[in-house]
Symmetry: C2
Subunit: 222 residues, 2 copies
DNA sequence: TCTCTAGAAATGTCCAACATTTTCGGAATC
DNA sequence: GATTCCGAAAATGTTGGACATTTCTAGAGA
C-alpha cells in the first residue's frame, strides 16, 4: 500500500484500497486512460484478486474508472470535453442545491459554512507557502469540505450524493491546474469571500452567480 | 437464475446477475430494506461468492442496494421521503436535459422521440388489456426508453447517466402504483401526447412544464 | 505490406478455507 | 419483569489457487 491511509472506523481492505487508488488517480499517479491490470495493481497496492476487483467496481461507480466486459478496467479519460461536461453538471446541480440550502439552512449551517471557509483560507495560504504533496492533499480536502458544507443544508441526500460524485471527478483537473500554477489564487480568495458574504446575507442570486463563476474558472485557466 | 435473461452481447455472469436482481427489486420480489444475504442470493440466483458481491456493488452504485461495511448489503429503503427526493432530483435533472435536448436536437432525434412515444402508447394499451408480468416488464421498458429518448440529444453523457440512475430508482414506485391501479392512464396518455407536441414545436417552456407534471403525478396518486 | 494464426497474457469465474465481525438467544443480574 | 452480558452460531470479508474463456500480440506466411 502506497499511502498508509488512516484507518477510519470502517477498515475493510476494499475501502483502504479505494482510498489509495482514488488519491493516485486524483494526483495523476495513475493517468487518464491508463489500463489497470489487476496483477500490476495487486503488486503495487496489495490485496487479492477479489478485493481489487471489488475496489475497481467502487471506483467505477464513482466515475473515476471505467469497466468494459472482458477487457478489464481503465482510468476514466480526462479530456477537455470531459472537463466541460463535468463542469456543466456541477453548475446545474450545485445551483439547485445551493439555492435550497440558502432557503432551508439554519444558523448552525451558516456556522459550518464559515468554519469550512476559514479552513479553506488557511489551507490555500499554507499551500502557497509550501506546495508539497501533503499540503496539496489537505488543500484538496478543504476544497471538498467547503463545497460540501455549502450545500449540506439542501435537505436532499441524492442531490448531495450527485454533487459529491461530480466534485470528486473534478479533482484531477483542479489538482493539475494547481500544479501547473494556473490557479488565480487572488481571484479564488475574492470569490470565496464574496460567496460566503452572499450566503450569510441570504442573497441567493448573487451566491449562485459566484458559485457558477468558481466552477467555470477552472474551465479557462489564466 | 429466475429470469433467463436474454444473453446480450456482453454475457458476463455479473451482468446477468445484475439484470435479475434489478428486475426483482423493481418488481418488489426483493422488498425495500430486505437484507441480502450472500448465501441466500447465491442459491437463488446462482453465481459464486465473488460474482454476487461484485453484482451487489454494481447495484449499490445504481442506488438500488446499500452497502454497510461488515454488515453486508440490503435493498435500498423506499419511503415516501425517498420517493420525494428521487422526484426532486429527477425534475431538476430532466428539466435541464430536456431544455438542452430541444435546443440541440435534430430531425433524427425528433424521429426517435416519436418512435419511442409510439411504442410507449402501444405498451400502455397492451398493459391495460393484459396486465400480466411480462407485459408490465415491456411497459416499464417502454417508459424508460421514452424518457431516455427525450433527453438523448442533450449532449451531456453525465447528465444522461444521472437521469438514468434516478429514473431507475423510480421504477419500483411506478410499478407499485401500476399494480395498485393508481395510475391515471388517461391523464398519462394526454400528458405524453402534449409533451410530444411541445417537443416537436420546440416549445421548451411547455415541454418542461409537462415533464415536471409527469414526474410529480407519481407523487400523489389518485 | 497485409492477413492470419498460434501462443501469451489478462480477464472472469469458481471453490474452499479462514479471520473477523455481527447477530441472537438465553443466563445472570438488578 | 427488564436489562445487561456473554458465548455460540451465522454472516461477512479476505485470501490463494485453479481453470475456462477472451483478448492481445508478435511472428509466419501470403
Amino acid at each position: 500500500m502506497i499511502f498508509s491511509a488512516k484507518k477510519s472506523e470502517d477498515s475493510t481492505i476494499v475501502e483502504l484500497l479505494a482510498l489509495s487508488l482514488r488519491r493516485d488517480i486524483a494526483f495523476g499517479t495513475l493517468l487518464p486512460d491508463q489500463k489497470l491490470k489487476l496483477n500490476e495493481l495487486r503488486t503495487r497496492y496489495g490485496g487479492s484478486n477479489h478485493s481489487m476487483r471489488e475496489t475497481l467496481r467502487i471506483l467505477t461507480s464513482e466515475g473515476l474508472v471505467e469497466a468494459t466486459a472482458q477487457r478489464g478496467f481503465r482510468v476514466t479519460s480526462a479530456t477537455e470535453d470531459d472537463l466541460r461536461d463535468i463542469a456543466l453538471v456541477r453548475v446545474e446541480v450545485e445551483k439547485i442545491a445551493l439555492s435550497r440550502a440558502i432557503e432551508l439552512g439554519d444558523v448552525a449551517w451558516e456556522g459550518r459554512v464559515m468554519a469550512a471557509h476559514h479552513a479553506l483560507q488557511k489551507a490555500e495560504a499554507a499551500l502557497r507557502d509550501a506546495p508539497d504533496d501533503l499540503t496539496a492533499l489537505e488543500w484538496d480536502e478543504a476544497c471538498r469540505a467547503f463545497a460540501l458544507a455549502l450545500l449540506e443544508a439542501c435537505d436532499s441526500p441524492r442531490l448531495l450524493d450527485t454533487h459529491a460524485k461530480f466534485f470528486d471527478q473534478s479533482r484531477r483537473f483542479r489538482l493539475a491546474l494547481m500544479r501547473e500554477g494556473k490557479l488565480d489564487w487572488a481571484a479564488r480568495k475574492a470569490r470565496q469571500k464574496a460567496l460566503l458574504d452572499a450566503i450569510l446575507s441570504k442573497d441567493k442570486a448573487r451566491a449562485i452567480e459566484l458559485l457558477q463563476a468558481d466552477i467555470e474558472a477552472e474551465l479557462k485557466p489564466k
